[in-house]
């Protein structure tokens, strides 16, 4: 294909604003799939994606339209995958910016639109769902035009559901988006914007060829990581895999690498030919590090090997997932896992439970801390229980948060952010009604229940997005919990000094409710070092008998006792105290207990 007739684009849209439906319509109208093959939302392959209506894995589909080759590069739709989104956008020259005619722009749309503008993409603004009775196409068009600095009359108005305006969208893509630059004669370079693992063919890289061309049986190298492999096949998706002779400059497609581990070929890396390597990789590669950590433990300790195997399998397809074995004296053997963010964590947990049928205890999430010890050693701490007692300095990750709310909720959002140690950055009116608030916040204040709080304090209207902005020093303390004098590693948490007392108190109160009374008094304490900051006593039980044993129906009584025993088995033994598994989740929603 003539490079001048290639158009590479992404669709930027908030969850539910109709990205997948629009992609389906484009495939239909360009005869890429026949009606018979069409199933709703062809591009979202995983069961989970389909159910949650979000896209985890990017894919690229080639369609043809009036003599043009259009490559639709699907982007992950969530805050945790900002880096992946930025790589997908880098593979494009243009983007369809889709906004729901009834909802208007959302924080995530704004963030990704800015990302697209920073990448010099030609933006094609689209207002979708104009068929809805509550649609306000003019209002939404004005908002989106304001956002991208365009003329509202230039905004396309469509309904992906009914198919209205889809042809115009395809025309606009062909007309407005520039063809890819890049030198067909230069040493080959391709950007890896995603990858997935196929159990028969190994790692499949999704690439955008920038310079030169790639063909099968060529030795290749990933420039940032230095991984070498022989290319087994190149091709493109239409929408299924179609092998091709070669992928030329400007084209989008796949490379079958035969590699057995996605972590050896990271998103953002540059592929080049071993025979005639490029001098410089493409810019922008980052080694993405997990920022949110939690312990994952099998509820039934016999399931540890299954959990290990399941994590191994997930890791094949998820380079950002990190895990290492962890032993907790309270929860037994499990793994400390690192995630890009909360949604990533949630997705991994759900896949483990759903696809691998595991029953898990997930401890309260925490962030990565950079610690300078008194001894002058720098360490990264992923688990509160491992925070050294004597520290010189602790740094925690900060984010820049963008929150869009109707103006009536600005007050509650500001209040929440202040409680969470937020620093106000600025505020903009997106329209008369809607306000964008930008704050800097410690990520550690977000991971627990920030999003739930934000939603509940704004009656669900707030939309939220964030970007990591780096590590900053914080006055952080490690709060330990002791049950009957025994420290419980799985309940340790790291909190800001000013909130330590309140958190310790809330945690102790919560545990007193969660831990059933035992045969003896049980002290529950929160402590910083050796200083106890909160204490409660769970009074010993005074009575525990099975009542009437009547008419010789002993089986019934036995079953009651067997049930009681089974209940005990589900408890975790902390010293002499039986602690129900729910108690380990008490830290997850401490604010909830105050109300």
């Amino acid at each position: 294909m003539d490079q001048r007739r290639i158009r590479n684009f992404s669709i930027i849209a908030h969850i539910d604003h109709g990205k997948s439906t629009l992609a389906d319509r484009i495939l239909e109208l360009t005869d890429t799939v026949t009606g018979r093959e069409m199933r709703a939302q062809v591009l979202d392959t995983m069961e989970l994606e389909r159910e949650r209506g979000i896209t985890i894995k990017a894919q690229a589909v080639r369609v043809t339209w009036k003599g043009h080759e259009l490559n639709l590069i699907d982007t992950p739709g969530h805050v945790d995958f900002t880096y992946e989104v930025s790589r997908s956008l880098q593979a494009c020259e243009g983007a369809l910016l889709v906004v729901d005619a009834a909802q208007g722009t959302e924080a995530q749309t704004v963030a990704n639109a800015y990302l697209a503008i920073e990448n010099d993409l030609e933006i094609v603004p689209v207002v979708n769902k104009i068929d809805l009775p509550q649609a306000d196409p003019d209002g939404a068009a004005a908002e989106i035009a304001e956002l991208v600095g365009d003329d509202p009359g230039h905004v396309l108005r469509i309904s992906a559901k009914t198919g209205e305006g889809i042809a115009e969208v395809l025309d606009a893509l062909a007309e407005r988006i520039p063809p890819p630059a890049g030198d067909a004669e230069a040493p080959a370079r391709a950007l890896v914007f995603d990858s997935s693992y196929d159990q028969y063919r190994g790692v499949v890289a999704f690439v955008r060829v920038v310079d030169g061309s790639f063909k099968a049986r060529e030795p290749l190298r990933a420039m940032a990581q230095g991984t070498r492999f022989e290319c087994e096949e190149v091709g493109f998706f239409s929408p299924t895999m179609q092998a091709a002779e070669a992928l030329g400059a400007g084209e989008v497609g796949y490379v079958i690498t035969g590699l057995k581990d996605v972590s050896r070929l990271r998103v953002g890396d540059t592929l080049t030919s071993e025979q005639r390597p490029a001098a410089e990789p493409l810019p922008g590669y980052k080694d993405v590090k997990p920022m949110v950590f939690a312990g994952l433990f099998p509820t039934d300790s016999d399931e540890y090997p299954e959990l290990r195997d399941a994590l191994e399998r997930l890791k094949l397809n998820d380079a950002a997932l990190f895990y290492e074995p962890e032993t907790s004296q309270a929860l037994g053997f499990g793994f400390r896992c690192g995630f890009l963010g909360l949604l990533h964590m949630e997705i991994v947990r759900e896949r483990l439970e759903r696809e691998f049928d595991l029953d898990l205890i997930v401890t309260a999430p925490n962030v990565a801390y950079r610690v300078l010890t008194k001894g002058g050693e720098e360490v990264e701490v992923h688990n509160p229980a491992e925070m050294p007692r004597e520290v010189e300095r602790v740094e925690e990750p900060y984010i820049k948060a963008s929150i869009i709310v109707p103006k009536d909720y600005v007050g509650p959002v500001m209040e929440l952010n202040t409680e969470r140690r937020g620093r106000f950055d600025h505020m903009e009116y997106l329209s008369e009604e809607r306000v964008l608030l930008v704050y800097e916040l410690p990520l550690g204040e977000i991971v627990l229940d920030y999003y739930d709080q934000l939603k509940s304090r704004t009656r669900g209207y707030a939309s939220f997005d964030y970007d990591l902005v780096g590590f900053r020093e914080g006055k952080l303390e490690r709060v330990d919990v002791l049950i009957a004098g025994e420290p419980v590693d799985a309940l340790s948490l790291i909190v800001h000094r000013d909130g330590a007392y309140a958190r310790g108190r809330a945690l102790v109160d919560r545990l007193r409710e969660e831990i059933p009374r035992q045969f003896f008094d049980v002290a529950v304490q929160a402590a910083i070092g050796s200083r106890v900051i909160a204490r409660e006593t769970i009074k010993a039980k005074r009575k525990d008998v099975l009542a009437k044993c009547y008419g010789g129906d002993i089986s019934r009584k036995r079953k009651l006792l067997e049930r009681q025993k089974a209940g005990k088995k589900r408890m975790k033994q902390v010293g002499a105290v039986e602690v129900p598994q729910e108690a380990f989740l008490a830290v997850l929603n401490l604010d909830g207990s105050k109300k």
């Binding site: 009575k543 525990d544 008998v545 008419g551 009584k557 006792l561 025993k565 002499a576």
Partner: protein, 372 residues
């Protein structure tokens, strides 16, 4: 196997159903008493092979055995095998001089009266028909007929029952000088009308009620009663010329003995199996009308289950449980832990096990922990 020496006979008929009750009962159907007694006697003949030649105890429970037509009740009692202890359960309002004489003349040695409480408003809540006066009168009537072994059932933990109410109930009961007392905490059993109406209230007062059990035990032991089983008390032998007033029938359950149960919903444990007769009156009458056994659920009791039950039942008593043959049923680590907590004691070179007084108050939980 020499056969069961204990016989339970279920008489399901009641004048009305109490809201908290989840036993197998039948209200009305007065015309069927005769047919039911016929069926019981047919069943007795069918099962006679399971009984020992001499019985230690017969227990007629309900329902309300004493609402059975007197003529039919008498016919049944006279046809049942003799035993050293023959108990009949009775509701106070049914105890007339005629009934008392009937029982006495038909070989009944022990009457268990469902008193439950002496507070009119609490009786009403339980939907009991007897008034406190009727309870007192019933004891008098039985005594006048010569009954020298009367047991009273009390229920505590009724919604709205204060400690004063409880103390008053215990004092009232003691004033009647019963040989035996059974004191049960009210249970909100799932599916009963009572649970529907008062379950939330019961749930709410759980903690407040926690001391009631201790209070019951303290009052009754002070008054010279032996706390011989978790919920059962009898006058101490030294106060009654050495008479052992424990219920022989219930002791048999707690000691893991075999027993035969007759009637709808009745349970038997015979030679390693537990049998549960259909609770449906129609099915029961039809089968026995044809001279056939009524439908029964059969639950084979494996060795492990039997050892489990021996421990669970045996530890309810105030006598030490012999561990002979129970190896493997008790978790040694749990035993050691519970001993350290002062809840369990081992005696006679570790061969017997008993709960301490505190252990008995926590008997359910302690047993659950102790069982391997």
């Amino acid at each position: 196997m020499s056969g069961a020496r204990h016989l339970y006979v279920h008489l399901p008929f009641c004048a009305s159903r109490c809201g908290y009750c989840d036993f197998v009962t039948v209200v009305g159907r007065n015309g069927q008493h005769g047919a039911y007694v016929d069926a019981l006697l047919t069943e007795l003949e069918l099962e006679r092979g399971a009984l020992a030649p001499r019985l230690e105890s017969v227990f007629l429970g309900g329902g309300t055995p004493t609402v059975t037509e007197p003529r039919e009740l008498e016919r049944l009692l006279r046809a049942l095998p003799a035993a050293e202890e023959v108990t009949v359960e009775a509701n106070p309002e049914t105890v007339t001089p005629d009934l008392a004489a009937l029982l006495r003349d038909s070989g009944v040695t022990r009457v268990s009266l469902g008193a439950q409480t002496f507070q009119p408003r609490l009786l009403e809540m339980l939907e009991r028909r007897a008034t406190p006066d009727e309870v007192r009168a019933a004891v008098g009537t039985l005594r006048a007929a010569g009954c020298d072994n009367v047991s009273l059932d009390l229920i505590y933990g009724i919604p709205g029952q204060s400690t004063t109410d409880l103390d008053d109930d215990l004092a009232e009961a003691l004033a009647l000088g019963p040989e035996h007392l059974s004191c049960y905490e009210l249970e909100a059993k799932p599916g009963t009308r009572f649970t529907h109406a008062h379950g939330v209230e019961l749930e709410r007062q759980v903690e407040a009620l926690e001391t009631y059990f201790e209070r019951v035990v303290a009052r009754l032991t002070e008054a010279g009663y032996r706390w011989y089983e978790t919920a059962n008390f009898c006058r101490s032998p030294q106060l009654v010329d050495g008479r052992d007033l424990r219920s022989r029938h219930n002791l048999a359950y707690w000691r893991g003995r075999d027993y035969l149960g007759l009637g709808i919903g009745a349970v038997s444990t015979i030679a390693g199996s537990r049998l549960r007769t259909t609770p449906r009156l129609g099915l029961y009458l039809a089968a026995l009308g044809n001279g056939e056994r009524p439908p029964r659920e059969v639950e084979p009791l494996g060795g492990e289950v039997r050892r489990f039950e021996r421990v669970l039942l045996g530890l309810r008593l105030d006598e030490p449980l012999s561990l002979e043959g129970l190896a493997g049923a008790v978790d040694p680590a749990a035993l050691e832990r519970l001993e350290r907590l002062g809840l369990v004691e081992r005696g006679a070179a570790g061969e017997v096990l008993a709960l301490t007084e505190r252990g008995r108050f926590l008997g359910g939980g302690v047993t659950a922990e102790l069982l391997a």
